[in-house]
């Protein structure tokens, strides 16, 4: 039972309730002790750092200061939301790299007699903990209902793999962590080339047309590879792709219907939890049809859509990738 300092972030209570509920369900099964940092505050999401640097970093590192005070033997702060994870990681990284910034922030924190020594905490995303600490073998052993039959587009978004200060992810453009998790759950992860492309972030408020184009590309990519649903690790990505899917369809006269859910919801399903407790139904684009496919044989594609040339077994051999080379050894 390893325990972590848990930073939930605001969206877990509002727009990403499904993420929170499914995380609670999954947490029990995997034996993760997530001790919430008491009196944590908003992390400034993607906007505040762009508006006013020192107050933004002070706001963020207040959470880190609280976490160090409350250290329950663990030095790791877990953030499920990509934006919170990146902001916490940025605060820790730049306070260390630019001592004068660190001093100013700590000066601000003194008002609440708090202090944060940069580098004293490890800041990691939930997916990183599941893959590297819990481990795929452990997750696979907990799967009761393998999700055979559905094709899932794994979508990581841009904040988790980049800038990746501590070099935790396998690649900065095409990381395979989420793919491996999905196949551990029995689902088929499509080879989704846009897995780390931008979802628009806060663009829907500033310039909707730009946001719609970015969202259309992701939906088109998922639809092209016949994904039944798209799985994400970040409340902001989920909201953009789900909430603005209808408007994007109106804007481009398309009719994509791709459910956008959190990877923890799928994990809950695979662990045999009741969909109600996993936040299913909260999404705007219904997952009802997609979920019904779990367990069915995959029908032969009717070929209506243009199939991308997949490498058939015949023809010239593909070069082996480093991951497979390890498997060979």
């Amino acid at each position: 039972m390893t325990s972590y300092l848990f930073y939930p972030g605001c969206s877990m209570e509002t727009s990403a309730k499904a993420y929170y509920e499914s995380l609670i369900a999954v947490k029990k099964t995997l034996g993760l002790d997530l001790v919430e940092i008491d009196d944590w505050n908003c992390c400034g999401a993607t906007e505040y750092l762009g508006i006013n640097l020192i107050p933004a970093y002070a706001l963020i590192s207040r959470n880190l200061a609280l976490a160090t005070q409350q250290a329950n033997g663990s030095r790791t702060v877990v953030a499920p939301c990509s934006a919170c994870y990146l902001n916490l990681a940025k605060a820790d990284h730049y306070m260390l790299e630019r001592p004068e910034l660190g001093e100013k922030v700590n000066l601000a924190l003194q008002a609440g007699n708090l202090f944060y020594k940069p580098g004293s905490l490890e800041i990691r995303h939930l997916l990183d903990i599941l893959i590297n600490d819990v481990g795929l073998e452990e997750i696979k052993s907990k799967v009761k209902k393998p999700l055979r039959g559905i094709k899932v587009a794994p979508y990581l978004g841009c904040m988790v793999p980049r800038p990746d200060y501590k070099k935790r992810w396998s690649d900065h453009e095409h990381p395979d962590e989420l793919d491996r998790l999905l196949s551990a759950l029995g689902a088929e992860a499509i080879d989704f080339p846009l897995k780390t492309h931008c979802c628009g972030g806060h663009m829907p408020q500033i310039s909707p047309s730009t946001a719609f184009e970015l969202i259309r590309r992701l939906l088109h990519g998922a639809d092209l590879y016949e994904a039944d649903l798209l799985v994400t690790v970040c409340p902001m990505c989920q909201m953009n792709l789900d909430a603005f899917q209808a408007e994007t369809n109106r804007y481009f006269h398309t009719n994509y219907k791709i459910p956008i859910i959190f990877f923890t919801q799928l994990m809950g399903l695979a662990f045999g939890e009741d969909p109600k407790e996993l936040g299913f139904g909260r999404e705007l684009v219904s997952t009802e049809f997609a979920l019904s496919r779990i367990g069915l044989e995959i029908p032969e594609p009717d070929g209506s859509k243009v199939q991308p040339k997949r490498a058939k077994k015949t023809g010239l051999p593909m070069p082996t990738m480093p991951a497979d080379e390890e498997a060979h050894k």
Binding site: D171, H172, E173, V306, P308, K309, G315, L316
Partner: protein, 670 residues
């Protein structure tokens, strides 16, 4: 207090010469004042004559020294001039001509290390006095020495059977001297054997390479050790003893006729990662390519069914001359050679490291070596240029230059050959498929003979050149017409806009990298390699094929990225240097050696582990250490380490250095 009377009781008779070097020295150092100061201040040491002269290295300058030696019976000479690396030999020869042992002469640098690097005239003059005083204090303790004459063994070892190694071996063998070639792969030929055409002449690589390979294979003076690796090198210039591991081929080369029936009958097919660059297959028993030299196949133990499961033996059954011999063992062969030429070539940059180009993930992204095999008539597709599915002929092809080169994330240097290679591919694709060809480059480097003309020709053939570094290659279609294609995202710096160019096939013109085991190779042969792994030449401009270690030469892309003509030229150059050595018959080595005084040595063995050349030997019976003068390279580490002060060294003895320190600090003694 070091007293200055030397072994023969009276003072030495010293001549000091301060050179003007035109104005190079005299411009910043008051040479007359220095000469005068030496005459008065250092007279007590035995300085009889102290001159300053315009050009000491000129014949007149040398005659000055010779005459003084004869007339004044000088026993020591100190010259304040340029650098020992330049004219030490000149002044030593002058001394020898005047029957004074050349090692009793000391050249003190007052140009490179004073006049050229200091501006204040007074300081420069003061420092010149001090540095010459250091030289005089030192030279008093010099001992007459004779250079060691070491016979040169006429045989030569060439490591690496690529085009550079082949050229060197042929030059030496044709000159009548024995050559050993050691090649790691089953056949010589190196990377060039994999190519289809060569730029700029579009010669077929095999057509111009195989004749040289055949003459190597049949040359009476060349012993070919393929499927072998050097395990140990001992000795020094003129007398290297090299231990080579000949891996078992499991084919008896007396009986094998090279008919290749065994390769047909062998049931086990494996991807050929080396020769076919992972694009083609070979059998468990194989020769890399039909024109292999030597023609005898080898059995790859990891994949041979007999060696893995103990069954099959198809090759043995069908071999007409039963040349197959599963009982063969690896063999250690020792050869004695006088010189060694390293020509072990390069590794291709691993394009998988550039994840945004998608090699290894996107099927139709190929590397340059893969395309060489694709376009080669003896290749997996018999020369048909097709996509990864082995069927479809591409309509549009994108060729990306500078993959992994001129890139801070990977290799800073330019790999010299990727531009011309990219142009060659463009021509071949155009000629064979009529496809539209895009070349993405940042600078078109076509520097050598007939290279730029080739570039003009490829331009006129209608190749579309986009000047810009490719940002990403993706199969995520975004605009209509992009489905099912590879989209090349690039900023066209000439058109000044971002472009998304859909193509069917991408060829990555990857750069060259040092061999992954370059550092071990350098350690094995006792030479040094740069941080990233290219072997270091004696002088980048004036001595590119020699190394700092006497008797070891380098040729080809082991020294740095280069094209075939330069590799061939370097192969021949290295051979010429070796021939020069062999002709001399012997070589004079600087007599800088260490030796142990058996009386003083207590057998503490502190020094025993300090010599990388194994020159330090411990005699258990006499409890005393001894240094083998033949192996000692004169680094002096053991001299400095000996706790009992029992090891002394010629040329750089303790007394000489300590005296030099006194001399250097003389001026500040008052």
């Amino acid at each position: 207090m070091t007293n200055f009377t030397t072994s023969n009781g009276n003072k030495e008779r010293i001549g000091v010469y301060v050179c003007h070097c035109g104005s190079n020295i005299a411009g910043t150092v008051n040479v007359e004042e220095v000469a005068a100061w030496v005459r008065t201040e250092l007279e007590g040491l035995g300085v009889l004559i102290s001159r300053d002269y315009k050009f000491m290295c000129s014949s007149l300058g040398q005659e000055l020294i010779q005459n003084d030696i004869k007339e004044l019976g000088l026993t020591r000479i100190v010259v304040g001039a340029c650098s020992p690396h330049l004219h030490e030999q000149t002044f030593r020869t002058a001394c020898r001509r005047a029957e004074l042992n050349p090692y009793l002469c000391e050249l003190v640098s007052i140009r490179e290390q004073i006049s050229w690097v200091h501006t204040d005239k007074d300081q420069a003059t003061e420092k010149s006095k001090a540095v010459i005083a250091g030289g005089v204090y030192r030279v008093v303790h010099h001992q007459p020495l004779e250079p060691l004459h070491v016979p040169i063994h006429p045989a030569t070892l060439v490591v690496g059977g690529g085009i550079a190694g082949i050229q060197a071996a042929l030059e030496l063998a044709d000159a009548g001297y024995p050559v050993y070639i050691v090649e790691r792969e089953p056949s010589i030929g190196g990377h060039m054997a994999q190519f289809d055409k060569t730029f700029p002449t579009l010669d077929c690589a095999a057509c111009i390479l195989t004749p040289k390979m055949v003459s190597v294979g049949s040359h009476p003076n060349i012993t070919l050790l393929t499927w072998s690796e050097v395990r140990q090198v001992e000795g020094y210039v003129g007398n290297f003893t090299v231990t080579i591991q000949k891996k078992a081929r499991y084919v008896n080369d007396e009986f094998c006729t090279g008919c290749a029936i065994c390769q047909e009958k062998c049931p086990k097919k494996v991807i050929d990662e080396i020769y076919e660059a992972g694009l083609g297959y070979r059998k468990a028993i194989y020769t890399p390519f039909p024109q292999a030299v030597p023609k005898y196949p080898v059995i790859d133990r990891q994949n041979c069914i007999y060696f893995q499961k103990g069954t099959c033996k198809a090759c043995e059954k069908f071999c007409p001359t039963n040349a197959i011999d599963f009982t063969q063992e690896d063999e250690l062969v020792t050869v004695n050679v006088g010189n060694i030429i390293l020509a072990t070539g390069y590794d291709l940059f691993d394009a998988r490291r550039v994840s945004q180009y998608g090699y290894g993930r996107l099927a139709n992204v190929f590397t340059s070596l893969e395309f060489e095999r694709l376009s080669n008539a003896a290749g997996p597709t018999n020369g048909d240029i097709v996509l990864r599915d082995g069927v479809t002929v591409p309509k549009t092809v994108g060729i990306v230059h500078c993959v992994g080169s001129r890139d801070r994330n990977f290799n800073n240097y330019c790999s010299v050959i990727c531009c011309m290679q990219g142009l060659k591919f463009a021509h071949i694709v155009h000629e064979r498929t009529g496809a539209t060809v895009y070349n993405f480059y940042i600078d078109m480097r076509t520097a050598y003979k007939a290279y730029d003309e080739f570039y003009q020709r490829v331009l006129e053939e209608g190749t579309l050149f986009v000047r810009g570094k490719v940002a990403e290659i993706t199969d995520a279609a975004r605009l209509p017409g992009e489905e099912g294609k590879l989209i090349i995202q690039v900023e066209d710096t000439l058109a000044g806009k971002q472009r998304r160019i859909p193509v069917d096939m991408v060829i990555l013109s990857s750069g060259l990298e040092p061999r992954s085991d370059a550092k071990d190779l350098a350690k094995l042969f006792g030479i040094s390699c740069s941080a990233d792994g290219w072997l270091i030449e004696k002088h980048p401009k004036l001595d590119p094929v020699a190394t700092m270690t006497e008797g070891i030469f380098i040729a080809g892309s082991v020294q740095g990225p280069k094209d075939i003509p330069t590799s061939v030229a370097q192969g021949a150059a290295a051979a010429a240097r070796v021939l020069g050595r062999i002709q001399q018959g012997e070589i004079a080595i600087e007599p800088i050696l260490a030796s142990v005084d058996a009386e003083k040595c207590s057998g503490c063995r502190i020094c025993n582990g300090l010599c990388p050349y194994n020159a330090i030997v411990f005699h258990d019976d006499r409890n005393v250490t001894e240094i083998n003068p033949a192996l000692c390279q004169g680094c002096g580490t053991c001299i400095a380490a000996c706790p009992a002060g029992a090891i002394s060294g010629t040329g750089f003895s303790d007394t000489q250095i300590l005296a030099q320190i006194d001399g250097l600090l003389l001026l500040n003694a008052e």
